[in-house]
């Protein structure tokens, strides 16, 4: 073992600064959510609050800056997000992506189809807002779970397909050939053998599709206009609608809602980090 060199110390210090850069915004939001009422609106700002107050998570605030936004108040939006994200994810991954990816890797091998899938993952959501609005309005699904879930499939499916193609590519052909000799039909081989072998890929696709649907803002903005039970507004809209209208009022509650609603994706993300790195980078990082 060498003694810590000047170089090693510099690296450590710089990395600590990097962590500060990535953590300070999260810390500040957390601290804001713990501050009660007017403590948010004091000068100088309180950097280290001495007492932690969870009122912003549970009770409507009662100060001069009162608006009754609390993290608990976001529950109707959470219900919508959960239903929409789960249904879009299941349809995209199991019904569309898994068989399509298998087909593109084993049966219809064509580089142009691969390029097409890749290109479709790169189309910005905003490009199709006008047609999707017209289509969803036409089938009378505006402001409903299924209308939004349907549109979410549009970006989740190609992404999941691309991701699964990478995983199917790694299944050794010999396994499938052995199953064929045993008399399994191609569909049985797909369903019983290959799909089981790409479980990590399936998990990565499920989690990443879920997170991207959970976080999606633009389509929710144009396709929904009230939360459960009358409509289907999702969590991002809970945050933006109050942020845009009462920018200087409901900060404590909004910060609490932000913290509260990002917990599911952060927890999922940290535990599945290795799988997700591969998915997020479209296969460039092998997990």
């Amino acid at each position: 073992m060498k003694k810590p060199s000047a170089m090693a110390v510099t690296v450590l210090v710089l990395l600590a600064l990097v962590c500060l850069f990535y953590l300070f915004p999260v810390y500040w939001t957390l601290v804001t959510s713990f501050k009660f009422g007017n403590e948010i609106f004091t000068y100088p700002p309180v950097i280290f609050p001495l007492r932690i107050d969870l009122a912003n998570f549970f009770q409507p605030s009662t100060t001069a800056h009162a608006t009754n936004q609390t993290a608990i108040g976001s529950i109707p939006w959470l219900i919508d997000s959960t239903v929409v994200a789960i249904s879009a994810t299941l349809v995209s991954t199991f019904l569309i992506a898994a068989p399509a990816a298998y087909s593109l890797v084993r049966y219809i091998r064509n580089i142009w189809l691969g390029r097409l899938i890749l290109f479709m993952t790169m189309i910005p959501e905003v490009v199709f807002i006008v047609p999707f609005f017209l289509i969803v309005a036409e089938v009378n699904l505006l402001n409903s779970w299924w209308g939004l879930a349907l549109v979410y499939v549009s970006f989740a499916a190609p992404f999941a397909t691309w991701l699964m193609m990478g995983f199917f590519n790694e299944v050794p052909k010999s396994v499938e050939e052995a199953a064929e000799i045993d008399g399994l039909t191609p569909y049985q081989i797909f369903y019983r053998i290959s799909l089981r072998l790409v479980t990590p890929g399936l998990i990565a696709a499920l989690i990443l599709c879920f997170i991207s649907c959970w976080n999606e803002l633009l389509y929710a903005l144009i396709l929904t206009y009230s939360p459960y039970p009358t409509g289907a507004e999702t969590v991002p809209l809970f945050i933006t609608s109050f942020l845009i209208t009462d920018k200087s009022f409901a900060w404590g509650g909004l910060a609490a809602a932000g913290i509260f609603t990002m917990l599911p994706t952060i927890i999922m993300g940290i535990f599945a980090q290795r799988y997700l790195a591969r998915g997020l980078t479209l296969g460039a990082v092998k997990g």
Partner: protein, 292 residues
């Protein structure tokens, strides 16, 4: 003519995605063209595209989009690359901890990231202007300033996406064979020379992938603008995605918005085509087997 068994099985498995493709790509694309090439009363015309040529807001928007694109991409690459090299050179116990911390922004929803930066950059109660006052300087009022709003968005964007660049580059660095460094040391190269002549050439591929995917991510950006500045002040943070949304659902000029969407799609398609055609990035995405 009978289909071969391979093709038949392949088509059956691909049936859902073929249906998907018709409903979610071909049909919307056709609708988009129809809307873009008609007037609000349904007459076939090029008015929407003529309007683009004389639309001063579009000109501002395109300029902003360019600065936003170049600024974000540059900053994200610099930060992501720098952090990856730093962590690669770190020898110690906290490697996994650092990696996890840097991973966090990727899991936070863009809307919440927007909320965070609104809290941070607020001119009255935000901590950043407070620190600036502590230094005895005038507060900068980042989000209310015509010249600082877009750079603020770029920094927030870099916070969100630099971990993504980091992830790719860091993974690439770990694939560089250790023997190459040993050989470089034997040849008497300094660390800096080894970095220049061993590391950089070895991670060219992953750098390309990071560049392409990050560029696409930046171009897709909408949420941060919507949450942090809503395009303001004035038109100073209008970018193409935000403008198309605004034209469609705030000004209700559906046809013009469709034309703008087509313009955006054309820009993306051109960019992707150029990158795929002139760089070997496909090999690194696993699309094509390269020479190894």
């Amino acid at each position: 003519m009978r289909l071969s068994k391979t093709l038949r099985v392949g088509l059956v498995l691909a049936l859902p995605i073929i249906v998907y493709f018709a409903i979610f790509f071909i049909y919307p694309l056709a609708l988009l063209f129809k809307e873009a090439f008609t007037t609000p009363t349904g007459v076939l015309a090029l008015t929407n595209f003529q309007k683009m040529l004389t639309d001063p807001v579009l000109l501002t928007t395109l300029q902003n989009t360019f600065y936003y694109f170049a600024g974000s991409l540059g900053l994200e690459f610099a930060v992501g690359f720098g952090v990856a090299v730093l962590l690669y050179n770190y020898i110690g116990r906290f490697r996994t901890l650092f990696r996890t911390v840097i991973f966090v922004p990727l899991m936070v929803s863009p809307v919440v990231i927007g909320l965070m930066w609104v809290l941070l950059l607020d001119s009255q109660y935000g901590p950043i202007d407070y620190f600036i006052r502590l230094l005895g300087l005038q507060p900068l009022n980042f989000l209310g300033s015509l010249s600082l709003a877009l750079p603020s968005i770029i920094v927030a964007n870099a916070w969100e996406y630099s971990p993504f660049v980091f992830l790719i580059i860091y993974a690439g660095l770990q694939t560089v064979p250790q023997q190459l460094y040993e050989a470089a040391a034997v040849d008497g190269m300094s660390r800096l020379q080894a970095f220049r002549y061993v590391t950089l050439p070895s991670i060219r591929g992953v750098m390309l992938v990071a560049f392409l995917l990050d560029a696409i991510g930046v171009l897709k950006g909408f949420d941060l603008i919507y949450v942090i500045t809503s395009g303001g002040p004035g038109y100073s943070t209008y970018i193409l995605s935000f403008y198309a949304y605004k034209v469609a659902f705030v000004y209700f000029q559906t046809n013009y918005a469709a034309a703008l969407s087509l313009l955006f799609l054309a820009i993306i398609a051109t960019f992707v085509t150029i990158v795929l055609k002139f760089t070997p990035v496909e090999e690194y995405l696993g699309l094509r087997r390269g020479k190894e």
